[in-house]
Symmetry: C2
Subunit: 408 residues, 2 copies
């Protein structure tokens, strides 16, 4: 399609492969005001796919900054009725979230406890439920902004400004540089699904990460399956929740994380960059959080509710990752988490677990699956980090060595 601009081809990929918008669907788009060019292209692409109505909600982080600074304490975690009504409408709809923060340190000088608290908890919980129950076909994709480009690239190379270099890196990461990106995604997704089958066949009891500053055991749930390469809604709509995606992931048992872990990449956390994060777990709880900067934002998030400091995801990524191969830190979890192995504190990813529907949060937690209003990934993998599987009889199975996948 040589006459389509890059942004229109990108929007087309996001709508067709990412969210897989169906005729007659309402399409919800969440974007920053700085993402308007992509939001507009996504609207056009969604209507071309047969959307009934496209509803774009623009967030303005400068308005959020004033909110975090000045709103009364009890307003910070509130969900307004109109925000809740929109979250209630997600079931049966398509959802496209645009990532890519033009000013990743906008909140760095604010009270980090308030930064952590500032989220519409009820609406986020409602959205996470719709996603976990596979009732919405959704995706997250990034829009490269000048601000992010300036973080990732410091100078013009071969006449290419930082923003052009970032677009190139993004286009490569999401396979837009392939002749047929949709077909390239089909093959890539099949490869990730094959890995899930390899892992599931091992019937692992735990994963173990070891490397500099890291000695971490993450207990897995009996019967929990690995997921990767996309999801299928209860209505049968296949979709790819992250563009790019390079991970296979599973839900840990929130009661069985033990040891210490050192993050291997900076973490961009809603306006704050967390550097040199180290977390110590005891009986599933994150009992100690250290960082050279931004640690307060992690502690603030972990204090949002009683279960925010327990793990909800563990994910494996090897060195064939297109994101990892760029060698870049994007200061954006959507990319950085797909560069290497990661874990997430907060709500559990329930895609690979049967029989949870209709259970209360307490009942879900009794099954070993965490429920929280938080879900934050941080990166713990890399060539120096070895990953083993531990089976129920205690056998150790090498899974990653020097970023190379060991199973076949």
């Amino acid at each position: 399609m040589p006459d389509m601009t890059l942004i229109d081809r990108y929007a087309d990929l996001i709508v067709k492969v990412g969210a897989n918008v169906q005729p007659g669907q309402t399409v919800f788009i969440s974007a920053l005001v700085e993402h308007a060019p992509l939001a507009r292209a996504l609207s056009r692409a969604s209507y071309a796919a047969g959307a009934r109505v496209v509803d774009v909600r623009y967030v303005d982080n400068h308005v959020r900054r004033a909110f975090i600074e000045h709103a009364p304490e009890d307003a910070l975690s509130e969900t307004a009725p109109w925000v809740m009504a929109r979250a209630d409408a997600l079931e049966g709809s398509a959802l496209i979230m645009i990532a890519g923060d033009p000013d990743p340190e906008l909140f760095a000088d604010l009270d980090q406890a308030r930064v952590g608290k500032a989220r519409a908890v009820d609406a986020v919980t409602r959205q996470l439920r719709a996603q976990n129950e596979l009732k919405v076909n959704w995706t997250i994709a990034a829009y490269p902004t000048e601000g992010q480009a300036a973080q990732v690239f410091t100078e013009t190379v071969d006449g290419k400004a930082p923003i052009d270099q970032l677009w190139e890196a993004v286009a490569h990461s999401v396979r837009l540089d392939e002749d047929d990106p949709v077909e390239a995604w089909r093959a890539h997704a099949a490869r990730l699904r094959a890995r899930c089958k390899q892992l599931d066949a091992l019937e692992l009891d735990a994963l173990h990460f070891s490397g500099p500053g890291t000695n971490l055991t993450v207990g897995l749930l009996p019967g929990a399956r690995f997921t990767g390469g996309g999801l299928t809604t209860v209505d049968g709509i296949t979709h790819v929740p992250n563009l790019p995606t390079e991970e296979v992931f599973a839900c840990p048992d929130w009661r069985r994380t033990e040891g210490t872990v050192r993050s291997t990449r900076p973490l961009q956390l809603g306006g704050t960059i967390v550097r040199d994060l180290e977390v110590c777990f005891d009986g599933g709880n994150a009992v100690e959080v250290k960082a050279s900067s931004g640690g307060g934002a992690v502690e603030g998030q972990m204090a949002i509710d009683e279960f925010a400091n327990r793990l909800g995801e563990v994910a494996l990524v090897d060195g064939t990752s297109r994101v990892g191969q760029t060698g870049l830190t994007f200061y954006d979890s959507l990319f950085d988490e797909n560069a290497t192995c990661h874990i997430a504190y907060g709500s559990g990813v329930t895609f690979g677990i049967d029989g949870l529907e209709g259970l209360s949060p307490d009942e879900i937690r009794e099954r070993g699956v965490n429920v929280s209003a938080v879900h934050t990934d941080f990166m713990i993998g890399g060539p120096e980090v070895a990953v083993d599987g531990i089976t129920r009889d205690g056998t150790r199975v090498p899974i990653l060595r020097e970023d190379t996948w060991q199973l076949s």
Copy 2:
């Protein structure tokens, strides 16, 4: 306040004089994505005034364009539940709407019937009710954009680009160039209120406009008072609904408009510019609409409901108007309607009418006050248009001659 930037001083005026935001209030802001700099300044100014939460809803006219082009017919006038929930929350809150269209002809090539139909009727009706029942302190102010500047000014003058010239014209129109804009507004509002008293004392039965292409009689309601210089909510919050405002206005009897009227300024109507509009009224109905361009957008709006083609406002503006004195057409009704006399088709302005609360739309219409989901002003005044009042005994009282106010 020499250390405050122009935009922050402007936001301060809008928050303090326009909406008059009160401590503890929720502040709703409606803006285009292109208005983000002002929306951000308004958020800061609102929190400084004690706002509890500021909720900015960004509209993107390019997303709306795709909606108007592609959404199914029955979706065009729908109100989504989350949009309705936000409209329901307006009562008791403050509302700031930012005007100023960067691309006033964005919808000009679309099907004008669909352009006219595309509005969330239930939410608009709910908002108009809150405004008419004086249950929200609200204001509209403009943000000068490059696109609008390019429409108004064609070249750089004295080293000033069009956008700088537009900012100057806006700052003059809203009295930001005064040493103490808040005090200047107090004096200006008092002047407009004095005019209302002069008009009310005449106990007029009708207004008559005559000039080139215009011979129009607008019947007034017995006991309807003129309004100008601001409103006061049922909770006692004084506010100035338009910045700038130069008008005194009253509600016509929707059944008693007769004759023809020729618009004296172009009308910007949601992405379409209507030029050389002429409307013929018979028994209150607009029975014929002509225009050299954009007439279809007016006809589309008048077809939204059965009462959209009846008048809901008549307003008088004289040559002392700061907006009129700029000699400019802003292609934005907020400014253009304050340059000269105007009428509006659609819902009646009920501020000067007692005893409507709790009545049904039919009962309100029985009182002679129009109820519709539309309210669109267009400009009919100027030095060549004479305005007379007609008293109940048939006496003609000159009100405007050559743009000069005749009452004292």
